[in-house]
């Protein structure tokens, strides 16, 4: 008996639930209705409310960054550079990159879902430092304000990578404002990571040992390590770019004896691990979803947990693969190439273990699971093409082509955003206390998957054929593939708008969710939907491993006799 009781599921009426399993009525007061008014939100220290503040912030930035993608794809419909001038085009892809990387992908899952769920998952009443948590949101918003100022005052055209000496000496755009925006928002990442580390170390419920933690928490622990070790480096790097530009220090200026490649080392020391900031939390989401919708414990739980840490650690030693053609020594290139191959191993372990979890599981295809399965496929393609790029010889051929663009969009959009959307749907009933329309959600998930592949798969071919990235015009023989890509982008855009609409709709009109609609394991499902401000009526005590789905199924069988 494996019928999934999901939101909006229409089918034969459920068998009556034995009295012992009926839930108590949800508390009248929860974290959403405990107080009203702008002040109760802007001054809150409740991690759940702060998560929703972040949700508003990152959603705004997502659609802002997405609007630049729309313009980019519109320009690339025709080979001639006819919609925007090349300078404008440079600004478009720069703003797209800056907003999507620093203001959406990096904070998205940790600051929204992580913030909301980590205290719930570990049975704590809040994060260790609630006021710091609120401060991190304000810092994020100040950074976002700088970025929007950059935008309205004329934009910046260096690419999101800010390569020197173009950014420090030659660009006539608003590098300083853009750099300060990222510098500032970096501190919100640092504070979030610090808060998570302390919370996971110090605030676990009695009985919740490290190897009973949900893999979502493990993934966020690994992510937080990158937050606190990597982000300060991008902060000092961008600070030196700002100082160099304002005061002509000469550290990155070859005319003064400075070395522009030093900037690239410092930049990628953070910005490569930043990719793992984006993907590790998504992997955490996928682990939760795959276990729940297969009704099985994650295969090789300990190894999956450790592979998150391995990715975080090895990820710090691969940055040189961004610089194979930057004049880095061949020997350094060899080492970075080898290490880049190595970092693929823990990622592959996760993919194999998710797949093994499905084996003989009672799999059901609700919306979060559709996103999870999409994630596994797309992440695999993105990861394998990453192996191409880690190979020294092949990388020379495809560096700065659309092959690279397609590769990292498979990881960031196919991986991180699919994980984010899957997680938002999975925990939406917990966050809002409402169910979303399952049919529409499944349609949207399929549209996102189809649109994504149509957008980015042609770009692999374009790149391999030699189309360079960051140009607004291209030879005519590339037009068919570019039109395919732009058509796919419009489908993908629709796929992103749909959840926006029906999720907002569900907040008011969706049916009320029970405490555990899926039904899933994990402490966050043991409390009401939406939870009370203190999260739990009483301190939970953990007596089981994570994902003890098998025992639950057995119990049911025994019960039925």
């Amino acid at each position: 008996m494996t019928t999934q009781i999901g939101p909006g599921e229409s089918g034969p009426p459920r068998p009556p639930v034995p009295p012992a399993l009926t839930e108590p009525p949800p508390p009248r007061v929860n974290y959403l209705n405990v107080a009203y008014g702008v002040k109760s939100w802007l001054l809150t220290t409740d991690h759940k409310r702060i998560a929703l503040l972040y949700l508003a912030g990152v959603t705004l930035m997502f659609f802002l960054g997405g609007s630049f993608a729309v313009l980019i794809r519109l320009e690339l419909v025709t080979p001639a550079g006819d919609l925007v001038q090349s300078e404008t085009y440079n600004k478009l892809f720069t703003m797209h990159g800056i907003i999507m990387v620093f203001f959406f992908l990096i904070p998205s899952i940790p600051a929204v879902l992580g913030n909301f769920l980590i205290p719930l998952m570990i049975g704590a009443r809040d994060l260790a430092f609630p006021r710091l948590n609120l401060a991190s949101w304000y810092i994020y918003m100040i950074g976002a304000a700088f970025t929007i100022y950059t935008l309205v005052s004329g934009g910046v055209d260096t690419g999101w990578t800010f390569y020197t000496p173009y950014s420090t000496t030659y660009s006539n755009t608003h590098v300083i404002a853009a750099g300060l925006g990222i510098f500032i928002t970096g501190f919100s990442s640092i504070l979030t990571g610090l808060n998570f580390i302390v919370t996971i170390h110090r605030m676990r419920a009695p009985g919740l040992t490290w190897f009973r933690l949900p893999l979502f928490v493990w993934a966020h622990y690994a992510t937080s390590l990158i937050f606190v070790l990597g982000t300060p480096v991008i902060a000092i790097t961008l600070l030196t770019v700002v100082l160099e530009r304002a005061l002509h220090l000469g550290i990155y200026d070859p005319r003064l004896g400075g070395d522009p490649v030093l900037f690239q080392h410092l930049f990628w020391f953070y910005s490569h691990p930043a990719v793992y900031i984006m993907i590790l939390p998504a992997m955490g989401v996928i682990s939760e979803v795959v276990a729940c919708f297969s009704r099985k414990r994650i295969f090789g739980y300990e190894v999956v947990a450790m592979s998150s840490l391995a990715i975080a650690v090895i990820g710090f030693f691969v940055w040189g693969h961004h610089m194979f053609i930057s004049g880095q020594s061949t020997y350094a290139g060899l080492v970075f190439s080898l290490l880049s191959f190595l970092v693929a191993i823990p990622s592959a372990i996760k993919v194999f273990n998710w797949t093994a979890t499905l084996y003989k599981g009672s799999v059901s295809y609700d919306t979060p699971m559709l996103y999870a399965i999409g994630f596994v496929g797309l992440f695999t393609i993105g990861g394998l093409t990453g192996i191409f790029l880690a190979a020294l010889g092949l990388d020379v051929h495809v560096t700065d082509t659309y092959f690279v663009v397609a590769h990292f969009h498979y990881i960031m959009v196919g991986g991180a955003i699919m994980g984010y959307l899957g997680g938002i749907h999975f925990w939406w009933p917990k966050i809002t206390g409402r169910l979303y329309p399952e049919m529409w959600a499944r349609v949207a998930a399929v549209i996102v998957f189809a649109g994504f592949n149509l957008t980015f798969f042609p770009q692999f071919i374009l790149g391999y054929l030699g189309m360079p990235r960051r140009y607004h015009a291209y030879p005519e023989e590339f037009q068919v593939l570019n039109v395919m890509s732009s058509a796919g982008a419009s489908i993908l855009g629709l796929g992103y708008l749909l959840p926006m609409i029906y999720l907002l709709w569900s907040m008011r009109y969706g049916p009320r969710a029970s405490a555990n609609p899926w039904p899933a394991k994990g402490l966050e499902w043991q409390t009401a939907s939406p939870p009370i401000t203190e999260n739990f009526e009483r301190q939970p005590v953990v007596t089981e491993e994570a994902y003890a789905y098998a025992s639950e199924e057995e119990a049911r069988v025994v019960e039925r006799g």
Binding site: A124, D126, L194, I197, M203, P232, V233, L256, H265, P540
Partner: protein, 232 residues
């Protein structure tokens, strides 16, 4: 997954302590969290300074001679005095933490104020040094002149990188002190108002950790910037 048990493991007195925030079990648990948080923060600070230390290491290896010549133009006496001042301020800070742990209110205030005074002396001496560099056109930029360093051509430009790093590293360090001094002043005021006790003096202890960290950064900066090639 869970069974439910009552909380209240903590002693009754603890649960009603005014400084215990709602989501912690007990004051010691709260303090442990704060301590771990502070150490993690200091790790981020190490990485923050790390970028500049990396740049310094690289350019010192590339442009050793220019770095030696430039380093000799720094005021060793003032640097050494400042090192002594800062180490003393770490001692007074440690005494402040110690006094607050013992609940000696007036001693805590006195030690903290002494720390503020020593920190201000450090910043004052640093300002004198900076002014001297401005007067001698040793500030990177259009008006930088390397004649006084007896360097020409490429090496004159390399000296500018030394001074760029000098200002960036000592400037970032000084910024940390400028942040630290008012915090300690506020702590002194809070101590004066009797806000701390042997049970609860976490802010003093955490600020102490921060202050020692800033001190240690200087312990690295002083030899790296002031003592290059002094044995020649």
């Amino acid at each position: 997954m869970s069974s439910v048990a009552d909380t209240a493991h903590a002693p009754e007195a603890d649960r009603h302590h005014p400084d215990l925030v709602h989501h912690f079990e007990s004051l010691p648990a709260q303090k442990e969290a704060a301590t771990l948080g502070m150490w993690v923060f200091l790790v981020t600070e190490v990485m923050f300074f790390g970028g500049l230390f990396l740049a310094y290491t690289m350019y010192r290896n590339l442009y050793f001679h220019a770095f030696v010549q430039s380093s000799r133009h720094l005021n060793l006496t003032l640097g050494a005095v400042n090192t002594a001042v800062l180490i003393c301020s770490s001692l007074t800070m440690a005494m402040g933490v110690h006094s607050s742990a013992l609940g000696r209110r007036r001693a805590t205030v006195a030690w903290l104020l002494l720390t503020v005074a020593l920190g201000s002396v450090f910043l004052g001496i640093k300002a004198v040094e900076y002014k001297d560099k401005f007067d001698h056109h040793l500030v990177p930029g259009e008006r930088f002149q390397a004649e006084e360093l007896h360097l020409e051509g490429d090496e004159a430009r390399q000296a500018q990188i030394f001074y760029a790093l000098y200002f960036a590293m000592t400037g970032l360090h000084a910024t940390h002190m400028v942040i630290g001094v008012p915090i300690i002043l506020i702590l002194a005021w809070m101590a004066h108002r009797g806000r701390f006790s042997p049970e609860y003096h976490t802010p003093v202890e955490m600020t102490g950790l921060y202050w020692h960290f800033v001190d240690i950064i200087w312990i690295f900066l002083f030899p790296l910037l002031y003592l290059i090639g002094r044995h020649h």
